[in-house]
Amino acid sequence: MNQAAPVPKENQGEPVVRIDGRLKVTGQASYPADIATANVAYGVLATSSIARGKVSKVHTEEARAVPGVLDIVTYGDMDETDTPKFGNTGASSIGPLHDKTIFHEGQIIALVVAETFEAAEEASMLIRADYEDEPPSASFDSKGVKVEPAAGKSPMLQEDVKAGDFDAAYASAAVKIDQKYSTPTQHHNPIELFSTTAMWQGHQLTIHEPSQNVTGWKIELARQLKIDPANVRIVSPYVGGAFGSKGPMTARTAIVAVAARRVGRPVRCVVSRMQAFNTQTYRAETRHRIRIGAGKDGRITAFGHEGWEVTSRPDPYVVGGTSATGRMYNYGSVLTHVSIVHADRNTPGYMRSPPETPYVYALENAMDEMAVALGMDPVEFRRINEPEKEPIGGKPFSSRSLVKCYDQAAEAFGWSKRDAAVGSMRDGDWLVGMGCATAIYPTASAPCAARVRLTSDGQVRVQCGSHEIGTGVRTVAGQMAAERLGIGMDKVSVEMGDSALPPAPVSGGSISTASVCSAVLKACDAVRAKLFAAAVARDGPLAGSGNAKLDMEQEKIVASGGKSAKLSDVFKVMQVGAIEEYAEFAPKGSTPEALKKLYAGQAEFHGGDQDKDSVKYAFGAEFVEVRINSYTREIRVPRIVGAFAAGRIMNTRTARSQLMGGMIWGIGQALHEATEIDRRNARYVNRDLQDYLVPVNADIKQVDVILVPEVDLDVNPAGVKGLGELGNVGTAAAVASAVYHATGKRIRDLPIRIDNLIS
């Protein structure tokens, strides 16, 4: 697979190459654990092998005897600090070294610090603990789990959405289904491992750690360590994959900071792949019951979605995707309910499209079943149920191009050549199946600050405490400035990933491009205003053009009459070498506290289903072809086509790359990914990339991304809808639909493996 970046269409920006692409592919980008540090000591975690109980004693004698061991941080050593908080910035309320209670397998029981990584690792393996263990509850259906309604437990789900009289409508529907679906436990497994490097200089603490939320972490870490946030700096210039896993700070960060203070030198702790499964967040398993009722004409009259999600004992982590599924189609009536199931597991967390991936999977698999029950083409079924307004609050969509996406993707895919009869398409020994599904993701943005400096020689520097987690936001922020200030990209530099920069919200929820670009836009406009004023002033080079429309291109200020002035000449008049502007952007409808909260690391999100005037979503349609061997039933995906509309596309290259990556991940979710749990002891058994399967190159053949033009100025000043999390929503349902088409087997529990298809 090798494709050029898509040619920009209406309202789509140039496929500018990534500012940091060369650095990354040549290994010159320094990730947080690569930062050269003098006199560094190494930390390795020791973790619990039981999932529930109490630690009665930790034996550290043997470990301390290993040559090179400097210190062991364990129970009692964190008492001077506050326990972590569960929420936007904190992964869990479990303070592993504050309390000897074990809440999950792999909970931190000590951090060994040594002169070398090898010594620390050897010593960590020699740490033994005595436990008073209790039988743990692993997951759904395990004895001892606590089930409770989710609504109101977390900001992710305020209430169970509903509309109309579901019971009556469902009871009287001519055609209906009532089915259960499930998604497995999944771990993000970014290739860059999790790490913390802590350094103290007097009272100043610098943390190098891959992060999606440097401002939030600064505040939260200062709170835990009981120090002034002004003395904490979080640095994370490059992140080697995050997908939500580097959004909330975990307990490790404070432990490493304390260790560094104790040994009086920098400490670096890189967490092993295995330990990351338990000390970081993950996507917990979900279950769904979907009921859909429709008339014989295919119009849906009733939609019911019940969800169950696993979380830890102490923390009510909820994803609650019913807000999106309940607004997807023109249902008539809607009934939803989400429950959380507390088990002896580590606290789950955001994972690329947290609510939509599991919930839309269930909805879209059910939609396909319903189309079959109705004897209707699945694309047609969705078209018939396209809403004018969203069914819950009756609000309009700020824009909705789903039908266009279906049309363009179906055309490119060749959907019309599909023979609808199950098992009817074959290529030699291979059964061929084709399926489709809808992708949806809420469009949100959050307050964000940025600083832009333009110098008289036309150099632009953009600074913003957002995070380049691989999405290309550094590039598009630079593009925004280049475009607005009429400067070539080669003269633009962008600094991100440092809490010393102007604050930005967490890089999650696909808000970064919209929020960052809106702030950069505002700062650029302030720079422009200053330049324009000077240019048209009495002694300025464009004196007399005061009423003309001014713009900036090619290092010039251009007036609508045709006159122009060189940037350097305007600077001469102004008698300055640089103009620097700091701007704060707050989305429409922000509360008066919105900016204050930004600085406090708690940026509020706006958009999605939260706004009064409209609901804001990006949409897409995905089509998949599968081939299944008629003897051995292995499943292959020769091609996948997705068409997506997401407002202004800043850069068709990075946009395509995000969507393509999302669809590939979706294939993995459909066919490969699952963390296996030993239910007897609530332990994960496949904690490495050998057994936790993700697609490899050979699994991915043709992936086509179509960027459907869309203009939506309602969403934010930049007109941008997030698309980082759109691509992998719906993919697994499209695969399930294709597998059904090929074999007649409806697989409702992910992943779909040979086991399900062979008998």
Partner: protein, 340 residues
């Protein structure tokens, strides 16, 4: 990882002498204080995990005997030196032409990077990937005799259905070994008690009550070569590997098949099964079912039934029985249809 001594003998005899120094004669190589390392792709991994705990490593990569790195073919054998890398053997034109099964079993294994590192001797001696074996906090009879078997009632989707015992159900995951056992290869070994030749089928031991003893080798014995006879069925041979993804994964089920045909009738068949058994698995009952018969879907299915007659599933791996049968059927028919 624990500290260990690392030494690089330069001749096979020196390696044997060094290996004999620390250990009692009857200790299994995987539990010996001194262990050999070749590509290290299996052993180093397990040392990092604390599963293997040698005190001393003898690196075989400095051995100077040229034959250790050579592939030699004559009219009726292919002889692989023990240190030949998987990638080199997979790409060898002579091997590919004269016995596609050998080349494919290597080509479909691991990844390009691993195949460049891993040696053929190390490959046949690779230890199981049982998840519970890999992590020292679980009970495991293979790693810690007598501690129990966590997989028996645990997550055992990838475990074996053939050759299991009440002590261990771990799969032997290697691919090359299936080709070798099917083709009646012979392993050449040198050790303190002198050189010997072991039929490949006798190299690995069924788990029985002692799953910790995996092979017939003594701790001081070095594999120097693997010799594969070339027979009338070598050219019409094939390796079919079914896995969860298209590359870089172990077999859920695989079949190594070599056929000598007389028109549509099977004169000779050689069959081995991977991904489903505790050791490299020769399916003699299936061979017997085919011999002298016209190879069609029906007889292929009968052979597959015979191959899995004694299969014993556990909670999560029952699918391997139908999958294993279908893999064999498909492999037989595809091998029959090969143009040679």
């Amino acid at each position: 990882m624990r500290p260990f001594l690392y030494e690089r003998p330069t001749s096979v005899s020196a390696a044997i002498a060094m290996a004999s120094r620390l250990d009692a004669r009857n200790v299994a190589p995987t539990q010996a204080k001194t262990q050999f390392i070749a590509g290290g792709t299996n052993l180093a991994d397990y040392m990092k995990l604390g599963v293997a705990q040698p005190e001393r490593l003898l690196d075989l990569n400095e051995l100077t005997e040229p034959a250790l790195r050579q592939i030699k073919t004559d009219d009726d054998t292919i002889r692989f030196g023990a240190l030949v890398r998987m990638g080199e053997a997979a790409d060898n034109n002579d091997v590919r032409r004269r016995c596609p099964l050998l080349a494919d079993s290597l080509k479909f294994a691991a990844s390009g990077q691993l195949r460049n590192m891993a040696s053929l001797a190390g490959n046949v001696l690779q230890r199981t990937r049982c998840e519970y074996f890999r992590e020292t906090s679980w009970p495991c009879n293979k790693r810690e005799p007598g501690s129990g078997c966590a997989a028996m009632q645990g997550v055992n989707r990838q475990h074996a259905v053939l050759g299991t015992s009440d002590a261990c159900i771990a799969t032997y995951h290697g691919d090359f070994a299936q080709a070798l056992i099917a083709l009646d290869a012979v392993v050449e070994v040198e050790g303190q008690r002198g050189p010997r030749k072991i039929p490949f089928a006798s190299l690995h031991r069924l788990p029985g009550d002692t799953p910790n003893i995996e092979t017939d080798l003594a701790a001081d014995e070095v594999i120097v070569a693997i010799e594969v006879p070339l027979d009338p069925w070598s050219r019409r041979s094939r390796y079919l590997k079914i896995r969860d993804r298209e590359s870089y994964a172990f077999a859920l089920a695989s079949a190594a098949v070599a056929l000598e045909m007389d028109g549509n009738t099977v004169r000779q068949a050689r069959i081995a099964l991977g991904g489903v058994a505790t050791v490299p698995w020769r399916a003699r009952a299936a061979e017997d079912a085919l011999r002298g018969n016209v190879l069609d879907d029906k007889i292929a299915a009968a052979a597959a039934e015979a191959a899995f007659a004694d299969a014993r599933p556990r909670e999560h791996n029952a699918f391997k029985i139908p999958l294993g049968k279908r893999t064999l059927v498909r492999a037989l028919l595809e091998t029959r249809d090969m143009k040679v």
